[in-house]
Symmetry: C2
Subunit: 457 residues, 2 copies
């Protein structure tokens, strides 16, 4: 989104209560006056802090405020869709025309096709054609992120001419850099505003430009763009089409937004959640999105239970086995979850590669074994004090040690194997690993219990 590089009011959270009062009183003018002093990011915070009824009233006022163009684009998805659904085509066209192209295309993308076309018809031809093109790129690609408002000049341009161009384009994003292109718009180099200031007015851009420019392709995934910007500490990265034609520009603030989304995705994947499943999602939608995952979990739980079923006869004779078996399985599950988390995060941060994978697995097995020794030892003591049976304690300790070792191995191997297969290491790791620790935990504990059945009864 358009970087507002500098100014912003000091502490604004206190405005929320005042605004709420004025909104309730219907004091439109007062609210408008407060909005004059608020940063767009703070307007959204105020909006979110209001109860639903006042939210609507505030939104009505907000939308008519001249500073609202940049706010609307950053509204939470559900609210934005609602606002757009209730607005006229003219209002949408006017809103869209006040946005930078990347935001405008995103807004239009939220509309049903026929409404989108209606809004495009109300815009001037050049803008409409530009937006139409931007909308052809997938939302999750560089093309879908980029703005087309940027300065690109030819290498023969003089420094003085370039400065005049900057003067005449107050809307272009990120005028800390000028891009240098050839006569068919192929990217040739970049000139920073600083270089421009330090150069003589009669030098050409060609003579001062840096021709080694980091760039991304228009079809590169959003997460790769964010990774490129963060890895090379860039403030902006140019986007090129095939044959190196400059198509747009992505700024660091968009990379930050992409990183935040990627974080949500990473955290959500581990819990088998759909990214669209938010606090504000309607329950029925959340339900249908979570159902397949829960059915999968049920299937794995049935697998683990069928192991218990094999030992029903032993349990009937030594029912203490039933009391302790959830401990063995549960501790293995916790151990596997910790290992998984470390390995998945390590993969995400690029800390794992072919030479370190084997070492990582061995390390996690060692950690699991050590944890099993201590927690198994403690549990053996607890079981002995509880049931007065030393053998029962030994059986549970051995089962816990074995299962924790296994938890380390499985917890490390599952994401690494998924990654090796080209799959997302987080997706499903948890289910797979805990199916192992549950089933094998039951198998080891109940198996040992059956072997030593006479001693533990």
């Amino acid at each position: 989104m358009t970087p507002r590089h500098q100014s912003a009011p000091v502490a604004s959270r206190s405005y929320s209560r005042v605004i709420r009062r004025f909104v309730r009183m219907g004091a439109r003018g007062e609210v408008m006056r407060i909005l004059d002093r608020l940063h767009p990011a703070d307007m959204i915070e105020v909006l979110q802090s209001l109860p639903p009824a006042e939210q609507k009233a505030f939104l009505d006022i907000l939308i008519s405020h001249p500073g609202s163009a940049s706010v609307v684009a950053e509204l939470p998805g559900a609210l934005l869709t609602e606002v757009l659904a209730g607005a006229s085509d003219e209002w949408i066209a006017s809103l869209v025309s006040r946005q930078p192209p990347d935001e405008a295309a995103d807004l239009l993308g939220l509309l049903p096709p026929e409404r989108c076309d209606a809004a495009l018809k109300l815009l001037d031809d050049r803008t409409a054609a530009n937006l139409d093109r931007l909308m052809t790129y997938g939302r999750e690609t560089a093309g879908g992120m980029m703005t087309t408002h940027f300065l690109a000049l030819q290498g023969s341009t003089l420094v003085s001419q370039a400065i005049d161009r900057i003067r005449s384009e107050p809307d272009a994003e990120m005028v800390f850099y000028l891009y240098v292109v050839d006569d068919i718009n192929r990217l040739e180099g970049v000139v920073s505003l600083r270089q421009l200031v330090l150069a003589r007015p009669d030098q050409t851009l060609q003579s001062i430009m840096n021709s080694r420019v980091m760039r991304v392709r228009v079809d590169q995934p959003r997460s790769e763009v964010a990774e490129t910007i963060s890895r090379y500490n860039l403030l902006a990265v140019p986007v090129v089409e095939t044959s190196n034609v400059l198509a747009g520009l992505i700024t660091v603030d968009d990379a930050i937004d992409a990183m935040t989304d990627e974080t949500t995705r990473e955290i959500y994947r581990m819990a088998g959640l759909n990214t669209e499943d938010r606090l504000t999602t309607r329950p029925l939608r959340s339900f249908t999105r979570r159902l397949p995952w829960m059915i999968l979990n049920l299937a794995t739980a049935i697998i683990a239970s069928s192991v218990v079923w094999l030992f029903e006869e032993s349990i009937a004779q030594a029912v203490a086995l039933a009391t302790f078996m959830p401990i063995v399985a549960g501790m293995g599950g916790n151990g596997a979850t910790q290992t998984l988390t470390v390995v998945i995060r390590g993969i995400a941060l690029g800390e794992v590669n072919f030479s370190s994978a084997r070492r990582a697995i061995l390390r996690q097995m060692a950690i699991g074994t050590l944890l099993g020794l201590i927690t198994g030892g403690v549990m053996a003591l607890v079981a002995f004090l509880w049931k007065g049976n030393l053998f029962l304690g030994l059986v549970i300790a051995v089962a816990m040690i074995a299962n924790m070792l296994l938890a380390g191995a499985v917890g490390a191997m599952v994401p690494l194997v998924l990654k090796r297969l080209g799959l997302d290491p987080a997706l499903g790791s948890g289910v797979i690993a805990t199916t192992f620790t549950d089933s094998l935990g039951f198998l080891i504990f109940l198996g040992l219990g059956t072997v030593f059945l006479d001693s533990i009864r």
Copy 2:
């Protein structure tokens, strides 16, 4: 750390194999020549991809390369500590002197106090005093993040004079902005390089500056600084001491690093992991860090097991209860985990507030109930087909529905309550919630099983 705004070589990953070959051959000169063409971020990637023995050899060459100053600062912690431990005081002083002040202070902070003092003595007095001061700020504060290389000029400075100053300070970070201060260095405003270019040479900074500058305090936590930069789409934020004296500058790339660390922390907290627990951590260290969490988990597992123990007599008579009880508990745990994840992420993204909390809890309970109805229904059918007992199926279905409803309630309430108490909503949520779903799952299922014992046998 220092933004390298622009250029970077194209695809570099292929260099890794070539470098590895040259390192094995001991072809120092060849490696140096390849390094000339590599971006620092890529040098680190190559380093990490090498097996340990070759890593050492490559590091030796890397350190002697003129471009290595910015690489060393970004080495992974463990490797950096190793490098510093093996280096002479002179080498460290020379390395430190080539870093921007924020990086230099971070490097010195990794040394034992006496070695740090020795290195400081080898630097010129002004640099040493500056670094000494920077090191007094905590690593996790704005003071610990900021650089002191920035341009601050008085309001009476002419635009032409300011441009001369930029020319004379090639090292200052982020010369896209000049900060305007009064005679005792209090922050008064900011001028963007763009404004400078567009202004007349004889205007004063005062007359063109923007006086509403977003700022952070020197003692603000790192995560708040990152949040400020990302929230207001800033490229840099000035850091002030009490009474508004300008102390330093934090750039957006440092905010991105802080966000990445914050993500790790968030993901780790949910699994009860210590942030220092990485793939490369020595197993004994990981073990001691994970042990308290596992002991806590053991305690909660024992609580859940004691519920089972209460029903040992029923289980002895209807041992199928033992087979199915892990399913009831496990499904509740999965449901709670999904709900927790959505709520914790919602809190982290600022989507929850007092008015929406109650609604969020009710929604999650509704979702849990729906999921319980379907998965419980499926499970009832499975149990009936498996055991040929309709009552057993009904008991398990009712228990699953109740436990999933509970999972929604507890999963939503636990992080909200932790947050309300001023605690981290992620830390411990999982343990608390699954203790509930395990214990109450066992209680409901085994309780119902006991009531209908005659029918399910």
